[in-house]
């Protein structure tokens, strides 16, 4: 009897296993439908996030009126730095579109006890709470990043005298490290979100994320003096937010030939850091879930 029933059971289990990609696409579609319901609001949101980027570039245009580069002989001149800036926008917009709205929601789920509903669903809890919402308007900065990146690259590659020459492999590696950067940022965010299970309220920790990533928005060379070294160490090895933007931006903007060994090490380290931070953050998240006590309604 049991031998005839076993395949059936297997099939049922097979059917019950969630197809993560499909679930994610459904989430993304739902978010898009919701965004499109209030179309004017969506357009305004796009407009506002684009204005921030315009202001940002305005600041650096002013800065570069007074200096040729940032740091002594670092090679971060105007267009190299604009590549850096574009990389910042690319990574930040992806993080803001896919992870930010969910992290914001998470601390609310804890406070209200609604996390119960996520826990009982037959799907990985971390997946569910990480991808439920997509903020499509935030992606407008992604396109701004692409525009700035293309323009700066074109400027550098057609520069008279010493035009920038890039190996084709770089264009393959760049997206890979953009994704690595997003994953590191995601790990930091999910770790902070997990602590809200212990603390019950994490408004401050949420701001903390903003201030923490603030350190990642500049070329790492600026920290290479005096006590800046300790900051550099902390934000490279302990909380690896400094490699998030620096590594991909450097690939395009600083093709020193031959590459100095420390750059190779740094690039390799970025991969390692991605894997490690994902792994550690998941462990912390699971650990935190164990101490979750539902709030009564």
């Amino acid at each position: 009897m049991s031998t005839t029933e076993l395949p059936d059971r297997q099939q049922t289990l097979e059917r019950m296993r969630p197809r993560y990609m499909q679930v994610f696409l459904t989430f993304a579609r739902n978010s898009l439908v919701r965004d499109m319901t209030f179309r004017m609001n969506f357009i305004l949101q796009c407009f506002t996030s684009i204005s921030w980027t315009v202001m940002n570039i305005g600041f650096y245009l002013i800065v570069f009126q007074f200096t040729k580069q940032i740091g002594v002989n670092t090679g971060w001149a105007q267009y190299q730095f604009f590549i850096f800036l574009a990389t910042t926008w690319l990574i930040n917009s992806l993080v803001q579109a896919f992870f930010m709205p969910n992290a914001q929601e998470f601390s609310e789920l804890i406070r209200t006890g609604n996390l119960d509903f996520a826990l009982v669903k037959p799907i990985d809890t971390q997946f569910l709470i990480s991808f439920q919402k997509v903020d499509w308007a935030a992606l407008s900065n992604f396109w701004m990043g692409i525009v700035l990146l293309s323009y700066s690259l074109w400027k550098l590659m057609t520069m008279p005298g010493d035009p920038l020459q890039l190996h084709p492999v770089v264009f393959l590696l760049y997206p890979v490290f953009i994704i690595c950067g997003c994953l590191i940022m995601y790990s930091v965010m999910i770790t902070l979100a997990a602590t809200s299970i212990w603390l019950g309220r994490n408004q401050t920790l949420y701001n903390f994320w903003f201030y923490l990533t603030n350190f990642s928005r500049y070329p790492m060379e600026i920290y290479w003096s005096g006590w800046g070294w300790s900051l550099w160490g902390v934000f490279t090895f302990l909380v690896p937010v400094l490699v998030v933007i620096n590594v991909p931006a450097r690939l395009l903007a600083q093709p020193m030939n031959p590459r100095t060994p420390w750059e190779l090490w740094l690039t390799g380290f970025a991969l390692l850091a991605t894997v490690l931070s994902l792994w550690i953050s998941r462990a912390i998240f699971r650990r935190a879930l164990l101490s979750y006590r539902s709030a009564s309604s």
């Binding site: 305004l44 305005g58 007074f66 002594v72 401050t204 603030n214 600026i222």
Partner: protein, 308 residues
């Protein structure tokens, strides 16, 4: 707590008749004091969160120090000695950023406009119409209480950071023609901080009150925030702007929110212009007080409350 603010028409009318003007003032004062005390207690509920949040606001100054050091170093090809941008040495620059933080601690009003707009939209504003409480006055006292708690908590970190960065100040005053602030300059500095608070408050109230006419002011508010960030001197000293832009910005009230107090303290404003500038700031404050009064009166006339 609530019973003290309760309005008792018969009773207080009698008291006012007896005591005259003084009684009226006393009544008002005790109402204000109660409103402020409630706001203070409200603020102190999440003390730990508040203190931590205050400390973290100092983190961006660290990146600013490194960023500008790198810029000055690049200019001087490895040394910051003698390098200056439009009269700003590295020391002036850092001291400036620290001082704008102080200015912003007075003039920034998180959630004020959006709060007013929300109350207009969902009809909560009715409560000011049926209570003998002036809405703008209530909000102002609330803000004062909020700021007082904030300074109480932020005083220690501020003192610590200014002490740690004291070198930037002494280097600035050592190398620039300006001397350490005299008594009158300190007075103008303090006044400019207080006026900055009032200016920031009434400007945001006006923006919030626009919601009587347009229900959605989020985008308008955003444009204001953007301009505020960029043109108040919070992001960079306004002296770095190109000359024509500088002239336009000089005519806007935004510079009083961050740039002006810092410039006064650092001696970037000539002594003979100090009081003149301050008078213009007072005029701006009065303008926005009047505007907010007018808008509130006009707005309430066309307001119809929905919902409960």
């Amino acid at each position: 707590m609530g019973s003290e603010v309760q309005y008792q028409p018969g009773h207080s009318d009698g008291a006012e008749k007896n005591a005259g003007v003084w009684g009226l003032v006393q009544g008002k004062l005790s109402t204000w004091w109660t409103m402020m005390r409630i706001a203070l207690e409200e603020r102190l509920v999440y003390r730990g969160d508040f203190a931590l949040g205050t400390l973290m606001r100092f983190l961006p100054i660290i990146t600013q120090i490194f960023l500008w050091s790198a810029i000055f170093m690049a200019r001087g090809d490895g040394t910051m000695e003698g390098q200056s941008i439009k009269g700003f040495t590295i020391h002036t620059m850092i001291a400036y950023y620290l001082l704008t933080m102080m200015g912003r601690a007075f003039s920034s009003m998180p959630g004020l406009s959006s709060g007013i707009a929300q109350q207009v939209r969902n009809g909560e504003i009715k409560k000011y119409l049926i209570q003998p409480v002036d809405m703008v006055g209530f909000l102002l006292l609330n803000r004062v209480a909020h700021k007082l708690v904030y300074y109480g908590v932020a005083l220690l970190p501020f003192v610590l950071v200014f002490w740690l960065c004291g070198g930037y100040f002494s280097e600035h005053f050592h190398s620039s023609p300006a001397s350490w602030p005299s008594g009158s300059r300190v007075a103008v500095f303090v006044l400019s901080l207080v006026l900055g608070f009032l200016l920031g408050f009434f400007m945001e109230v006006c923006i919030g009150l626009i919601s009587f006419w347009f229900l959605e002011v989020t985008s308008l508010l955003f444009i204001y925030m953007l301009m505020n960030f960029f043109l108040s001197g919070h992001m960079f000293p306004l002296d770095l702007l190109p000359d024509t832009a500088r002239m336009v910005v000089d005519w806007l009230p935004l510079k009083y929110l961050a740039y002006f107090p810092a410039a006064v303290f650092l001696g970037l404003v000539p002594d003979e212009r100090l009081w003149y500038e301050l008078a213009i700031e007072v005029a701006w404050v009065l303008f926005f007080i009047l505007a907010s009064r007018l808008m509130l009166a006009r707005g309430l006339r066309r307001y119809s409350g929905f919902g409960g």
